[in-house]
């Protein structure tokens, strides 16, 4: 029983990271059909931002908001400079454009920070372990799950309770009508990039607190996980993104338990194969969204 609870907690913490990643990606996708290859780099820059601030002696309680702010601004800049000119282009053009953006922004990271991994020192309490009733729960895991729940709640409040949120939803659902109603697509896009950036800031901190070090090429793994999560959940749906992220987390943790020792090295391949199989059974993803972005 304790083992089971432990696994569920593992799956929840991994899954909520993926769900947040997928949420940030989907938000921009729903407004401009962009699947952003460079999304993982926002995490990397956030990680580097945290490293620099921590090394400069800034207290961690300040590092967190500063980092999130930094990534938010970066995301907006990326959206404004690189992606705004492409509004209305087909998803594949946008996908490849973001690939180009990735190469450039990654190069800047290499220029500034070099290829060597940079260690992120997190405060001691984050690396601790809580022991209760036979369970050994890393504090970071609890923080991850809590942040996930908090961000999702804040996100839904923003989406459903504010004027920004109403504009976002309108622009995502009926862009033409939204425009006729006086909603400025540029502004909506910038809001989407800002929110998506803030989420990336949170995930970046969680991700690199867990991994421990940042390199300019650390973006690949989170980007891939987010991609798989959004496709698994169903492209373009907020609920699908979260479902996909949690499902991917569950599949990964389940693979680690179920697979025999000899097959564990193939875990990544098997997870992707499982996801592709699921997609064949449900081409619209778990939430049954459209398969072809229009």
């Amino acid at each position: 029983m304790t083992a089971f609870v432990q696994h569920v907690l593992d799956a929840l913490s991994v899954g909520s990271t993926y769900a947040l990643l997928a949420l940030g990606l989907t938000l921009v996708f729903s407004v401009m059909n962009l699947i952003n290859f460079a999304y993982g780099l926002l995490l990397v820059w956030g990680g580097y931002g945290a490293c620099v601030l921590v090394d400069a002696g800034v207290p961690f309680a300040l590092v967190v908001p500063l980092c999130i702010l930094f990534v938010t601004v970066l995301s907006m800049a990326m959206g404004r400079v690189a992606f705004r000119p492409f509004i209305g282009a087909p998803p594949i053009t946008l996908l490849i454009t973001s690939f180009g953006v990735l190469l450039i922004v990654q190069y800047i990271a290499i220029l500034v920070f070099g290829e060597k991994p940079r260690v992120l020192d997190v405060p001691g309490f984050l690396t601790g372990v809580v022991t209760t009733g036979g369970l050994r729960i890393p504090v970071l895991q609890l923080v991850t799950i809590a942040s996930g729940a908090l961000v999702v709640a804040a996100f839904y409040a923003l989406l459903n309770r504010t004027a920004f949120g109403a504009q976002l939803r309108a622009a995502a659902e009926l862009p033409q009508t939204a425009r006729l109603m006086g909603i400025r697509p540029d502004r909506v896009l910038m809001i989407a990039f800002a929110v998506s950036g803030a989420i990336a800031g949170v995930v970046g901190l969680l991700w690199f607190a867990k991994v421990g070090a940042v390199t300019p090429r650390s973006d690949l793994e989170p980007t891939l996980k987010a991609f798989i999560a959004i496709v698994l959940g169903g492209l373009g749906r907020i609920s699908g993104a979260m479902l996909g992220g949690l499902a991917l987390g569950a599949i990964e943790v389940a693979m680690n338990i179920v697979l025999p020792a000899g097959a564990i090295t193939y875990a990544q391949a098997i997870v992707f194969a499982v996801v592709i199989t699921l997609l064949v059974l449900r081409p619209g993803g778990l939430s049954g969204a459209r398969t072809e972005a229009t």
């Binding site: 000119p85 594949i92 450039i104 690949l220 391949a269 997609l279």
Partner: protein, 379 residues
Amino acid sequence: MLRLALRADRLPGPAGRLGATAGAVLAAGAVTLLGALLFLAPTMREIVLLFGINAVMVVGFQLFVGNTGIVSFGHVAFMAVGAYAGGIAAIPVLDKELVLPDLPGPLASVEVGFVPALLIGGAAAALVALVTGPALMRLSGAAASIATLGLLIIVTNVLAQATPLTRGPQSLFGVPENTTFTGVYATLVATVAVSALFKWSGAGLRARAVRDQPMAAESAGVSVLRSRLWAFALSAFVTGVAGALYAQLLTAFSPASFYIAQLVLVIAMAIVGGIGGISGALLGAAVITVLNELLRRVESGMSVAGTEIHAPTGISSAVLGVALIVMLRWRPHGLLGSAELQFEGSAPARAEPEAPRTVPEDSPEAVGRTAGAARADDG
């Protein structure tokens, strides 16, 4: 009276098909001739061979992407499979004991020459495509692209872990250096011919019909899945052959040789040249190979007119990134779009100037379809 033309559709009838295929082969021949001239200079040899292999690879990539409109991120995986299958088959039996001591019996006693190694590489890649295709080809658009990226991850993971077969993440070495100028460019001409034949065949037409009007094509009895699967398998074969060529040029490589960096190259070549056509693929391969080679020399330091230029490592991929964005922003159809070099006869009056459109080829390509229109709309 024959003349050459650049056009996106072909003239009707067998003569039109012959002219379109011959035009593509002529383009490959011209590229070969140019390569042969450059090959005379010893410093150019490596880049000429590399270009030929890249051209085979991009023509293979284009065979799928151009005809189906699905941008595959998985073709590098076919290249990897081709390189490993062809490479392992080509390693001499005696060396195999040293390089791959745990190779299963029947494989350990195999040793093949250059051409069979290419065919084995191609066949292995086509097999992977045929096994995964029925699943992958059900998806469309961006979901399909991401799923093919999944294929690349799967193949890289398996190659890096199947140590008895591949030496795992370490380099596989000992592949004989069989790749010659004749080998590469004969393969290129054959590849281009196959690609053009497919493009102008019924199967190619069906694939493009599904690309442009999936609903209409399906109601006309064209199977979306089957039409894509043909293109997928054939293009995987060609890309696998490119991998086997590459393996016998490099002689040592690892799964990392066929990953994101290689993916960037393939995509850049296809986008710059024009994703819709064979002629564009050849041009794109030429432009990007030269650009990439120049940048690599700049990275390792070179002197131009007495000044030492030394750029930090990684600049080549950043420049490729810029090239991608610039092309997609201002020339989304690439340098050549879907235009192909073709022979035209002194045609009967009905074929010109209003040739009956047998192929809906003038419709914009999937990539960059509305970037221009959207901009106008945006203002």
